[in-house]
Protein backbone atom coordinates (compact mmCIF):
# COMPACT_ATOMS: atom_id res chain seq x y z
CA UNK A 1 0.00 0.00 0.00
CA UNK A 2 1.36 3.41 -0.93
CA UNK A 3 2.10 5.94 1.86
CA UNK A 4 -0.70 8.27 0.73
CA UNK A 5 -3.21 5.40 0.84
CA UNK A 6 -2.05 4.42 4.35
CA UNK A 7 -2.59 7.99 5.57
CA UNK A 8 -6.06 8.17 4.07
CA UNK A 9 -7.04 4.82 5.59
CA UNK A 10 -5.82 5.86 9.04
CA UNK A 11 -7.88 9.05 8.93
CA UNK A 12 -10.94 7.22 7.71
CA UNK A 13 -10.62 4.46 10.32
CA UNK A 14 -10.58 7.07 13.08
CA UNK A 15 -13.72 8.75 11.83
CA UNK A 16 -15.81 5.94 10.40
CA UNK A 17 -17.51 2.94 12.00
CA UNK A 18 -17.29 0.83 8.88
CA UNK A 19 -14.24 -0.75 7.27
CA UNK A 20 -13.15 1.02 4.12
CA UNK A 21 -12.63 -1.57 1.42
CA UNK A 22 -9.73 0.35 -0.07
CA UNK A 23 -7.76 -0.32 3.11
CA UNK A 24 -8.16 -4.02 2.85
CA UNK A 25 -5.43 -6.13 1.41
CA UNK A 26 -8.16 -8.14 -0.21
CA UNK A 27 -10.01 -6.89 -3.20
CA UNK A 28 -13.46 -7.88 -1.78
CA UNK A 29 -15.47 -5.85 0.79
CA UNK A 30 -15.59 -7.19 4.38
CA UNK A 31 -19.01 -7.95 5.82
CA UNK A 32 -19.53 -5.76 8.89
CA UNK A 33 -21.44 -6.98 11.95
CA UNK A 34 -23.00 -4.07 13.82
CA UNK A 35 -22.65 -4.28 17.60
CA UNK A 36 -25.23 -6.68 19.04
CA UNK A 37 -27.62 -5.54 21.74
CA UNK A 38 -27.09 -8.76 23.71
CA UNK A 39 -30.80 -9.18 24.34
CA UNK A 40 -31.40 -12.58 22.81
CA UNK A 41 -32.93 -13.69 26.11
CA UNK A 42 -35.96 -11.56 25.35
CA UNK A 43 -39.07 -13.50 24.41
CA UNK A 44 -40.15 -13.46 20.78
CA UNK A 45 -43.46 -11.63 20.20
CA UNK A 46 -45.92 -14.07 18.60
CA UNK A 47 -46.45 -13.41 14.93
CA UNK A 48 -49.96 -12.88 13.64
CA UNK A 49 -51.77 -11.87 10.48
CA UNK A 50 -54.65 -9.38 10.73
CA UNK A 51 -56.40 -7.08 8.29
CA UNK A 52 -56.16 -3.30 8.19
CA UNK A 53 -58.74 -0.69 7.20
CA UNK A 54 -57.94 -1.16 3.50
CA UNK A 55 -58.40 -4.91 3.63
CA UNK A 56 -54.65 -5.50 3.47
CA UNK A 57 -53.21 -8.40 5.42
CA UNK A 58 -50.65 -7.23 7.98
CA UNK A 59 -48.20 -9.44 9.82
CA UNK A 60 -46.20 -8.46 12.88
CA UNK A 61 -43.17 -9.99 11.19
CA UNK A 62 -43.54 -7.34 8.44
CA UNK A 63 -42.19 -4.93 11.04
CA UNK A 64 -38.94 -6.80 11.70
CA UNK A 65 -36.12 -4.28 11.87
CA UNK A 66 -38.36 -1.64 13.42
CA UNK A 67 -39.26 -0.78 16.98
CA UNK A 68 -42.99 -1.41 17.36
CA UNK A 69 -45.52 -0.14 19.85
CA UNK A 70 -48.27 -2.75 19.67
CA UNK A 71 -51.45 -1.38 21.25
CA UNK A 72 -54.62 -3.35 21.92
CA UNK A 73 -57.49 -0.87 22.23
CA UNK A 74 -61.13 -0.20 21.38
CA UNK A 75 -63.29 2.77 20.46
CA UNK A 76 -65.35 2.33 23.62
CA UNK A 77 -62.30 2.44 25.87
CA UNK A 78 -61.89 5.88 27.46
CA UNK A 79 -58.37 5.33 28.84
CA UNK A 80 -57.33 4.05 25.40
CA UNK A 81 -58.48 7.35 23.92
CA UNK A 82 -56.22 9.24 26.31
CA UNK A 83 -53.14 7.45 24.95
CA UNK A 84 -53.95 7.62 21.26
CA UNK A 85 -52.83 11.27 20.79
CA UNK A 86 -49.48 10.34 22.33
CA UNK A 87 -49.12 7.44 19.88
CA UNK A 88 -49.97 9.78 17.00
CA UNK A 89 -47.17 12.04 18.18
CA UNK A 90 -44.71 9.15 18.57
CA UNK A 91 -45.48 7.92 15.06
CA UNK A 92 -44.85 11.35 13.62
CA UNK A 93 -41.73 11.98 15.65
CA UNK A 94 -39.96 8.65 15.41
CA UNK A 95 -41.09 6.97 12.20
CA UNK A 96 -38.02 8.17 10.33
CA UNK A 97 -35.86 6.45 12.93
CA UNK A 98 -37.44 3.07 12.38
CA UNK A 99 -40.36 3.17 14.80
CA UNK A 100 -44.00 2.39 14.15
CA UNK A 101 -47.22 2.11 16.10
CA UNK A 102 -49.53 -0.79 15.28
CA UNK A 103 -53.00 -0.58 16.78
CA UNK A 104 -55.09 -3.71 17.25
CA UNK A 105 -58.74 -2.79 17.69
CA UNK A 106 -60.94 -5.13 19.67
CA UNK A 107 -64.18 -3.52 18.49
CA UNK A 108 -66.80 -6.21 17.99
CA UNK A 109 -68.68 -3.90 15.60
CA UNK A 110 -65.66 -3.91 13.29
CA UNK A 111 -64.68 -1.23 10.80
CA UNK A 112 -68.02 0.55 10.85
CA UNK A 113 -67.19 1.58 14.41
CA UNK A 114 -63.43 1.91 13.97
CA UNK A 115 -63.12 3.99 10.80
CA UNK A 116 -65.10 7.02 12.03
CA UNK A 117 -63.09 6.96 15.26
CA UNK A 118 -59.77 6.90 13.39
CA UNK A 119 -60.89 9.84 11.25
CA UNK A 120 -62.15 11.85 14.21
CA UNK A 121 -58.95 11.31 16.18
CA UNK A 122 -56.66 11.79 13.15
CA UNK A 123 -54.88 8.50 13.76
CA UNK A 124 -51.80 8.40 11.55
CA UNK A 125 -50.68 4.84 12.15
CA UNK A 126 -51.84 1.48 10.98
CA UNK A 127 -54.74 -0.17 12.76
CA UNK A 128 -55.81 -3.76 12.30
CA UNK A 129 -58.92 -5.58 13.53
CA UNK A 130 -58.08 -8.02 16.30
CA UNK A 131 -59.66 -11.28 17.31
CA UNK A 132 -59.62 -13.75 20.20
CA UNK A 133 -56.94 -15.90 18.55
CA UNK A 134 -54.47 -13.04 18.67
CA UNK A 135 -55.39 -11.94 22.18
CA UNK A 136 -54.81 -15.50 23.38
CA UNK A 137 -51.33 -15.38 21.84
CA UNK A 138 -50.70 -12.25 23.90
CA UNK A 139 -51.77 -13.61 27.25
CA UNK A 140 -55.51 -13.03 26.99
CA UNK A 141 -55.62 -9.21 26.88
CA UNK A 142 -58.45 -9.04 29.41
CA UNK A 143 -58.15 -5.29 29.88
CA UNK A 144 -57.68 -2.45 27.47
CA UNK A 145 -55.46 -0.70 26.73
CA UNK A 146 -52.72 -3.29 26.78
CA UNK A 147 -49.51 -2.21 25.09
CA UNK A 148 -46.33 -4.05 24.19
CA UNK A 149 -43.04 -2.51 23.10
CA UNK A 150 -41.24 -4.78 20.64
CA UNK A 151 -37.61 -4.40 19.63
CA UNK A 152 -36.12 -4.51 16.14
CA UNK A 153 -35.62 -8.25 16.44
CA UNK A 154 -39.31 -8.86 17.08
CA UNK A 155 -38.86 -9.45 20.80
CA UNK A 156 -40.66 -8.05 23.84
CA UNK A 157 -38.29 -5.44 25.23
CA UNK A 158 -40.23 -4.54 28.37
CA UNK A 159 -43.09 -5.80 30.50
CA UNK A 160 -46.49 -5.07 28.95
CA UNK A 161 -48.40 -1.97 29.97
CA UNK A 162 -51.83 -3.06 31.17
CA UNK A 163 -54.05 -0.02 31.47
CA UNK A 164 -53.22 3.62 30.96
CA UNK A 165 -49.47 4.19 31.33
CA UNK A 166 -47.56 7.49 31.77
CA UNK A 167 -46.49 9.03 28.48
CA UNK A 168 -42.91 9.35 29.72
CA UNK A 169 -42.66 5.63 30.31
CA UNK A 170 -43.47 4.93 26.69
CA UNK A 171 -41.06 7.63 25.57
CA UNK A 172 -38.18 6.28 27.61
CA UNK A 173 -38.73 2.75 26.37
CA UNK A 174 -39.01 3.78 22.74
CA UNK A 175 -36.00 6.05 22.88
CA UNK A 176 -33.88 3.38 24.55
CA UNK A 177 -34.64 0.99 21.71
CA UNK A 178 -34.16 3.52 18.94
CA UNK A 179 -30.69 4.18 20.26
CA UNK A 180 -30.04 0.45 20.30
CA UNK A 181 -28.10 -1.11 17.43
CA UNK A 182 -29.34 -4.24 15.76
CA UNK A 183 -27.57 -7.57 15.64
CA UNK A 184 -28.01 -7.89 11.91
CA UNK A 185 -25.00 -8.44 9.68
CA UNK A 186 -24.57 -6.08 6.80
CA UNK A 187 -22.27 -6.16 3.79
CA UNK A 188 -20.97 -2.81 2.73
CA UNK A 189 -19.77 -2.29 -0.80
CA UNK A 190 -18.10 0.91 -1.80
CA UNK A 191 -16.34 2.06 -4.85
CA UNK A 192 -13.33 4.15 -3.97
CA UNK A 193 -13.82 7.68 -5.21
CA UNK A 194 -11.09 8.52 -7.70
CA UNK A 195 -10.87 12.01 -6.13
CA UNK A 196 -9.52 10.50 -2.92
CA UNK A 197 -6.33 9.50 -4.66
CA UNK A 198 -6.00 12.58 -6.77
CA UNK A 199 -2.38 13.49 -7.01
CA UNK A 200 -1.19 10.17 -5.61
CA UNK A 201 1.54 8.53 -7.54
CA UNK A 202 1.91 4.88 -8.12
Amino acid sequence: MRPIERAICAALAAAAILSWPACSTSSSAHPKTVQTSGHDDRKLAPDFSLTDANGTSVKLSDYRGKVVLLNFWATWCGPCGLEIPWFVQFEQQYKSRGFEVLGVSMDEDGWKAIKPYLAEHKVNYRVVLGNDTVTQLYGGVEALPTTFIIDRNGRFAFSPHVGLAPKNEYLQEIQSLLGQQTNASVRVEHSVPALLFAGATK
Binding site: W76, A143, L144
Partner: protein, 103 residues
Protein backbone atom coordinates in the same frame (compact mmCIF):
# COMPACT_ATOMS: atom_id res chain seq x y z
CA UNK B 1 -66.10 -3.57 41.98
CA UNK B 2 -64.85 -0.47 43.77
CA UNK B 3 -63.46 2.11 41.41
CA UNK B 4 -65.22 0.66 38.38
CA UNK B 5 -68.26 2.00 36.57
CA UNK B 6 -70.51 0.85 33.75
CA UNK B 7 -71.80 3.22 31.11
CA UNK B 8 -75.36 4.37 31.62
CA UNK B 9 -78.15 3.30 29.28
CA UNK B 10 -77.65 6.59 27.38
CA UNK B 11 -73.94 7.46 27.30
CA UNK B 12 -73.00 10.83 25.85
CA UNK B 13 -70.38 9.49 23.46
CA UNK B 14 -71.62 7.47 20.48
CA UNK B 15 -68.61 5.16 20.76
CA UNK B 16 -69.44 4.00 24.27
CA UNK B 17 -71.35 0.79 24.92
CA UNK B 18 -74.57 1.40 26.85
CA UNK B 19 -75.95 -0.69 29.66
CA UNK B 20 -78.85 -2.65 28.23
CA UNK B 21 -81.34 -5.06 29.76
CA UNK B 22 -83.32 -7.16 27.34
CA UNK B 23 -85.92 -9.85 28.03
CA UNK B 24 -86.49 -12.99 26.02
CA UNK B 25 -90.11 -13.35 24.88
CA UNK B 26 -91.79 -15.51 27.47
CA UNK B 27 -94.83 -15.95 29.69
CA UNK B 28 -94.99 -12.21 30.44
CA UNK B 29 -94.55 -9.26 28.10
CA UNK B 30 -91.85 -6.76 29.06
CA UNK B 31 -93.28 -3.27 28.58
CA UNK B 32 -90.91 -0.70 30.00
CA UNK B 33 -87.38 -0.97 31.33
CA UNK B 34 -86.43 1.91 33.66
CA UNK B 35 -82.86 2.72 34.50
CA UNK B 36 -81.74 4.84 37.46
CA UNK B 37 -80.45 8.38 37.16
CA UNK B 38 -76.77 8.19 36.15
CA UNK B 39 -73.82 9.82 37.86
CA UNK B 40 -71.16 11.87 36.14
CA UNK B 41 -67.61 10.51 36.05
CA UNK B 42 -64.59 12.41 34.77
CA UNK B 43 -62.32 10.40 32.46
CA UNK B 44 -59.64 12.57 30.95
CA UNK B 45 -61.38 15.64 29.59
CA UNK B 46 -64.68 13.83 29.17
CA UNK B 47 -67.59 13.69 31.61
CA UNK B 48 -69.27 10.35 31.30
CA UNK B 49 -72.73 9.23 32.42
CA UNK B 50 -72.25 6.07 34.45
CA UNK B 51 -73.63 3.76 37.10
CA UNK B 52 -71.53 2.67 40.03
CA UNK B 53 -72.05 0.46 43.06
CA UNK B 54 -75.49 -1.08 43.64
CA UNK B 55 -78.36 0.15 41.51
CA UNK B 56 -81.80 -1.01 40.37
CA UNK B 57 -83.19 -1.52 36.90
CA UNK B 58 -86.98 -1.89 36.97
CA UNK B 59 -89.07 -3.67 34.39
CA UNK B 60 -92.84 -3.51 34.09
CA UNK B 61 -94.39 -6.67 32.72
CA UNK B 62 -97.84 -7.29 31.32
CA UNK B 63 -99.56 -10.58 31.94
CA UNK B 64 -101.27 -11.72 28.73
CA UNK B 65 -104.78 -13.03 29.09
CA UNK B 66 -103.59 -16.35 27.69
CA UNK B 67 -100.76 -16.78 30.20
CA UNK B 68 -101.11 -20.20 31.86
CA UNK B 69 -101.26 -20.21 35.65
CA UNK B 70 -98.46 -21.84 37.55
CA UNK B 71 -94.71 -21.66 37.75
CA UNK B 72 -92.79 -20.01 35.00
CA UNK B 73 -89.56 -18.12 34.48
CA UNK B 74 -88.47 -14.84 33.00
CA UNK B 75 -85.15 -14.89 31.18
CA UNK B 76 -83.12 -12.02 29.92
CA UNK B 77 -79.69 -10.61 29.41
CA UNK B 78 -77.87 -7.63 30.85
CA UNK B 79 -75.13 -6.27 28.60
CA UNK B 80 -72.55 -4.01 30.18
CA UNK B 81 -69.06 -2.68 29.74
CA UNK B 82 -67.00 -1.68 32.78
CA UNK B 83 -64.05 0.67 33.19
CA UNK B 84 -62.15 2.54 35.83
CA UNK B 85 -59.88 5.54 35.26
CA UNK B 86 -57.01 3.37 34.03
CA UNK B 87 -58.50 0.53 32.02
CA UNK B 88 -61.60 -1.05 30.55
CA UNK B 89 -62.84 -4.61 30.43
CA UNK B 90 -64.34 -5.94 27.25
CA UNK B 91 -68.14 -5.82 26.89
CA UNK B 92 -69.85 -8.68 28.59
CA UNK B 93 -73.32 -10.04 29.29
CA UNK B 94 -74.92 -11.82 32.20
CA UNK B 95 -77.90 -14.11 31.82
CA UNK B 96 -80.86 -13.34 34.03
CA UNK B 97 -83.30 -15.95 35.25
CA UNK B 98 -86.27 -14.97 37.42
CA UNK B 99 -88.64 -17.69 38.59
CA UNK B 100 -92.27 -16.50 38.88
CA UNK B 101 -95.67 -17.88 39.69
CA UNK B 102 -98.64 -16.80 37.53
CA UNK B 103 -101.88 -16.91 39.38
Amino acid sequence: MPGFHVNSDKPRDEFLIPLKLTWTPGPLEAETVSYPKPEEAQVGKDKLLVFTGDFEIRTEFKVPATAPAGQAALTGKLRYQACNEQMCFRPSSVEIHVPIVIE
